[in-house]
């Protein structure tokens, strides 16, 4: 990380190197619009018999008329983008800042690259799975239904790519306005994706609810941004951070930026589905097709966390006050309410998708607890005790959690996606007897459930352990030294975020109930009447599930590599802030 940040103007020499994955997405985007339309269209030059072929439209060539093609284009685009991000880590990551004049727009560093891995990985898995989920018919079938379904394939995958694009922009953005643009691009695509599930009425209803609540939340967030601009005259993260520092006065902050901060918190709170802004989430998840719900529960949540991190840790950073952040108590309360509410609501829901939605609310609560813990500690490495690593550790835990969440939460949604292909999955009883019908799927679901619950040796346990460790480390701080200097200390002398860790582990014990219920339903109930025998479904979604299972187990047993990657990313967040 010793290399300096290279500033890159738009379309500079390094532009393509710096934004390679994003450019790949753009290329895929165009390919998706053009390739399925390639046909024998010709243009007759007026007055002659010469027909000049121009290929767009007309009778389409058989390869390009294949309804599966858009799915493959999107998947390959996402995978190539994923690999190009991965390759940029090779041999130490070169950091770039995309600037326009004196304005910083996008920052490419370990932190943003890691988030791109999460986004592209999750959406690529969902795209693979959707190939089996989204009905398509042979192109010789001329019925209206077939034509309609084949036509909408491209729409769906274009929306997936725009979602990925918007999320990538959020991860890279260094200007709140750019961040907001990315957020809206991703949000609007996901509103449509939720409503895309036209087989069920809940799809449209869920999409509508998600759209209304989401746009209100965005509006409030935008209002907050405008107030922030009114106050500071800029939306640049770096300049805002300086302004917040400067505004620190013995009598406390001025009111305007604090109100703005609160409003922006609402906007991002909706994205991570933190209580009480989570009400649309269960409806949206239950209404959307399962792969889309999986994206909402993993990638979209990660996007909200990026926003919160930028806003809370970079702009209103903890060190700008004496010891702890101004938003500490508010976020702490929010996290406790979120995790408890999510778990208790999940206990009572009989719809597996709603259950997973509430469990993702609970997971958001755990991550908010982590963010709170960072706020309790000086974010500045020089002030943060031994090596300044307490806050880094929590950040590592949050990143680790977001990465492995893609494995097991998305995986669980993909299993439901296979079940959906034989009819609606709106009751827990639809899962009955899965172990008899599809032993391997049942084992996968079992692994996802115990991962979600945080049972060793799965990756979910590792992420929960890291989170608890991080919070406890923050809470205890340098108490170890004090104790060995002869001071008598007790848990009461630790920072109160220690209790967040306790509430968190107790919550994870509560969550055991509903995860176990899924396992019991799969293994110990006979299949429902007309739901017998193996499930129809292609190999694509099964491959995706298999990849999720492998990753869920692998990152639990051999977590070291991923922890180091996350630690590097967490460090780069810190350094980029420190360099400003």
């Amino acid at each position: 990380m010793s290399d300096p940040i290279i500033n890159v103007e738009l379309f500079d020499a390094n532009f393509t190197t710096a934004l390679c994955p994003e450019l790949i997405l753009v290329a895929g985007f165009f390919a998706l619009m053009i390739i399925p339309n390639l046909g024998k269209a010709t243009f007759r030059i007026p007055g002659t018999q010469i027909r000049v072929p121009y290929f767009l439209g007309g009778e389409r060539y058989p390869i390009f008329a294949n309804p599966r093609l858009p799915g493959w284009i999107a998947t390959i685009t996402l995978i190539v983008a994923f690999v190009s991000v991965l390759m940029s880590f090779d041999g130490g990551l070169q950091r770039y800042m995309i600037v326009s004049g004196s304005k910083e727009l996008l920052l490419i560093n370990g932190f943003s690259r890691l988030f791109e891995l999460i986004f592209f990985g999750a959406i690529a898995l969902a795209a693979i799975a959707s190939m089996n989920r989204l009905q398509s018919f042979d192109s010789s079938d001329k019925s209206t239904n077939a034509l309609y379904n084949n036509r909408r394939q491209a729409d769906f995958y274009i929306l997936l790519l725009t979602t990925a694009m918007g999320m990538a922009i959020v991860a890279l953005a260094q200007d709140l306005f750019v961040l907001f643009l990315g957020l809206e691009l991703a949000s609007f695509s996901s509103y449509v994706l939720v409503a895309f599930h036209k087989e069920s009425k809940e799809g449209t209803e869920g999409g509508m609810k998600y759209f209304i609540v989401g746009s209100v939340a965005s509006g409030i967030g935008l209002y907050g941004l405008s107030m922030l601009y009114l106050w500071a005259g800029t939306l640049q993260l770096g300049e805002l951070a300086v302004a917040f520092d400067a505004a620190m006065a013995p009598q406390g902050y001025p009111a305007l930026p604090l109100i703005a901060l609160g409003f922006i918190l609402v906007g991002f709170g909706f994205k991570v589905s933190a209580a009480p802004f989570h009400f649309a989430a269960p409806d949206a998840y239950a209404g959307a097709s399962s792969p889309v719900a999986g994206i909402l529960a993993t990638a979209s949540k990660a996007m909200g966390i990026v926003g919160l991190t930028r806003m809370l840790l970079i702009v209103a950073s903890p060190e700008s006050n004496d010891d702890s952040a101004i938003w500490l108590v508010a976020l702490g309360i929010l996290s406790v309410v979120t995790m408890t509410w999510g778990n208790i609501a999940a206990l009572g829901s009989d719809n597996p998708k709603r259950m997973l939605a509430y469990s993702s609310v609970a997971h958001a609560g755990y991550m908010l607890a982590g963010l709170t813990a960072i706020g309790a500690w000086n974010w500045d490495p020089e002030l943060a005790g031994h090596g300044g690593d307490a806050a880094i550790m929590v950040m590592t835990a949050i990143l680790f959690h977001l990465v492995v969440l893609v494995c097991f939460k998305l995986g669980a949604f993909l299993v439901l996606s296979i079940l959906e292909s034989e009819g609606e999955v709106s009751k827990m009883s639809n899962l009955r007897g899965l172990s008899k019908r599809e032993p391997l799927l049942a084992v996968s679901m079992f692994i996802f459930m115990i991962s979600l619950a945080g049972v060793p040796p799965m990756s979910g346990f590792m992420s929960k352990l890291l989170m608890v460790m991080g919070i406890v480390k923050v809470a205890i701080g340098n108490m170890g030294d004090a104790i060995f200097n002869g001071d008598i200390l007790s848990i009461g002398d630790a920072h109160w975020v220690w209790w967040l860790a306790l509430i968190m582990v107790l919550n994870s014990a509560i969550s055991m109930f509903y995860y176990l219920r899924v396992i019991v339903t799969m293994y110990f109930h006979e299949p429902e009447g007309d739901r017998q025998g193996p499930l129809p479904s292609g190999w694509q979604v099964r491959t995706a599930i298999f990849a999720c299972v492998i990753a869920s187990v692998f990152f639990g047993i051999n977590a070291d590599g991923l922890i180091e990657l996350c630690e590097m990313a967490a460090n780069s967040l810190n350094y980029s802030w420190a360099s400003q």
Partner: protein, 547 residues
């Protein structure tokens, strides 16, 4: 030195059973039936191999388990350490000492016996691999010398047991399995938080050999114990008085629920009644001992001051468990529930043994763990055979069993005698030693020796409920020519040969360790004396009037 533990005792059982189950789940129904027999033979032979390995370890064919390394406090024989998660200071670290070895041997003993006793369990192609998986996870708990690894195996044991109860259990198995899982999981997450807090209370400025690159602290048990011992000496409290008590309480909560001690015991009767025979045998035989083992391994070794502080609380918990377990036994009509409550009261005896804080009490607790690990599987094997052949668990439903099934009646009588502590059987040695240690404790504390009446009376109650049940099941004839109602007029079979074999082996071992307890007890005595000389006496001084 070669690694005798990681691969043969832990890695192979777990991985092999997972592979077998994955393979079998892809077979058709008939193939599964066909494969069941070769699979259980293979697993039986392998588990006998494990038993051979641990027995060879005991007789020092390799290593020197009975020597200094195995006996002395915080020294471990066959100790191996491999890097696992470097950034957090997590190691795959295994080793044996006189505390863990009897438990490991017991596990390897009970594996083949459980397999033999439940040879014809239905769905055998899954059942027997699951038993092996359970065994591997249990051994993992006992050999782990790293807090993280310990916790991972601690939780890992829940999964096969959960499935054993759910898949092969009785009527109400779903409730029982979930209750079992959630009770122990809740307690152990609190324990986890305690472990993590302990982890970060280490002072990273001190040189630690096995610390994480990211955190500067270590999960390594021997190192933490060393560290704690140094800071506990000279009248200091490691971590300070208040903090030590809190962490001690958090760790003990996890272990007391597992033990289980009253008032955290209610999961046990449910789990036992619903569990299949094999599950009950391992649950009572080894899994409960994880609680007592954990107490010795962590809170006692780390926090002797807090142990002294909470001594009377622990004593009270032990007394209440002992009395409550026995009294509730008297009221049971369900055979398995009665045996389960008798386990609760025996675990109370272990708790008392620990709370006396005498070398003899601790050796007695260790021997109780061992003896109960032989006797209670016998009890549950008998209960399982009873259920299997009489289709009922009610004590009153079957009378005159001695007439119909002499083998089962004999076995049942023997197991009950062993459980109530008949002299010359293994349980008696442990109970007697606990009573003597308790006497020492009362004298040293200057309390009235009348307190002894309680436990002594309870032992009488134990005899009462066993004898009473015996009278109601085995002897009292009624109309002896008439088979019991639950049989629906079918002829009554006696137990099968494989059941006879398993029960016979357990009975012989009960006698062996009753007549010659020193085979196992020597090691435990030495260890208890060593931990007193190495840890308790230097730190707490000449308390309790000395040894």
């Amino acid at each position: 030195m070669e690694d005798y533990i990681s691969v043969p005792l832990v890695g192979f059982p777990i991985i092999a059973s997972l592979i077998i189950m994955a393979t079998v789940s892809n077979l058709s129904e008939e193939m599964r039936e066909k494969m069941a027999n070769p699979i259980r033979w293979a697993i039986l032979l392998f588990s006998l191999g494990l038993l051979g390995l641990t027995t060879a370890m005991f007789y020092n064919f390799f290593g020197d388990l009975n020597g200094f390394e195995g006996i002395a406090f915080n020294n471990y024989e066959f100790h191996k350490r491999y890097i696992w998660v470097e950034s957090l200071g997590i190691y795959w670290s295994v080793g044996l000492d006189a505390l863990s070895f009897p438990m490991v041997w017991l596990t390897t003993l009970l594996l083949p016996i459980t397999i033999i006793a439940t040879w014809d369990e239905k769905n055998g192609a899954f059942y027997h691999p699951l038993i092996l998986l359970m065994g591997g996870a249990l051994i993992g708990v006992f050999v782990a010398l790293d807090l993280f690894m310990f916790y991972v195996f601690w939780e890992l044991t829940l999964i096969p047991m959960f499935f054993l109860i759910l898949k092969w259990g009785g009527e109400d198995r779903k409730y029982a399995a979930q209750k079992f899982f959630i009770y122990t999981f809740t307690a152990s997450v609190v324990m986890l938080l305690g472990l993590v807090t302990l982890y970060f209370l280490q002072n990273p400025l001190e040189p630690l050999l096995y610390s994480g690159t990211m955190t500067g602290r270590t999960f390594d048990i021997p190192e933490i114990v060393n560290y704690a011992t140094i800071h506990n000496s000279g009248g200091n409290w490691f971590l300070g008085a208040s903090m030590q008590k809190i962490i001690f309480a958090m760790l003990m909560l996890g272990f007391l629920v597992k033990l289980p001690a009253v008032p955290f015991h209610t999961w046990l009767p449910d789990a036992h009644v619903q569990a299949p025979t094999g599950g009950s045998m391992l649950l009572a035989g080894v899994m409960l001992k994880m609680g007592a083992y954990g107490m010795f391994r962590l809170p006692i070794a780390l926090f002797p001051h807090a142990l002294e502080y909470f001594q009377l609380v622990l004593m009270a918990i032990g007394m209440v468990s002992l009395v409550w377990g026995s009294i509730v036994c008297l009221g049971q009509t369900n055979l398995k529930k009665m045996v389960a409550y008798s386990s609760v009261s025996h675990m109370g005896v272990i708790c008392i043994g620990i709370a006396t804080m005498q070398p003899m009490g601790w050796a007695a607790a260790l021997f109780m763990m061992f003896a109960h690990g032989i006797i209670s599987p016998h009890l549950f094997a008998v209960c399982g055979a009873f259920k299997h052949h009489y289709h009922s668990m009610e004590i009153g439903s079957m009378r005159g069993m001695a007439k119909h099934s002499p083998w089962l009646a004999t076995s049942m009588m023997f197991a009950w005698m062993a459980s109530l502590g008949l002299p010359l059987l293994a349980g008696f040695v442990a109970e007697l030693m606990v009573l003597i240690a308790l006497w020492h404790f009362l004298v040293a504390e200057g309390w009235s020796v009348l307190w002894m009446v309680g436990p002594a009376l309870v032992l009488a109650v134990t005899a009462a409920y066993y004898l009473w049940s015996m009278q109601r099941t085995i002897f009292e004839g009624g109309d002896e020519t008439q088979p019991p109602a639950s049989m629906d007029g079918q002829p009554i079979p006696d137990i099968a040969n494989h059941e006879k074999l398993a029960m016979f082996v357990l009975a012989m071992l009960t006698i062996l360790f009753g007549v010659m307890p020193w085979i196992a007890l020597d090691m435990m005595n030495d260890w208890s004396v060593q931990i007193f000389e190495g840890l308790i006496m230097p730190i707490l001084g000449n308390f309790n009037g000395g040894v």
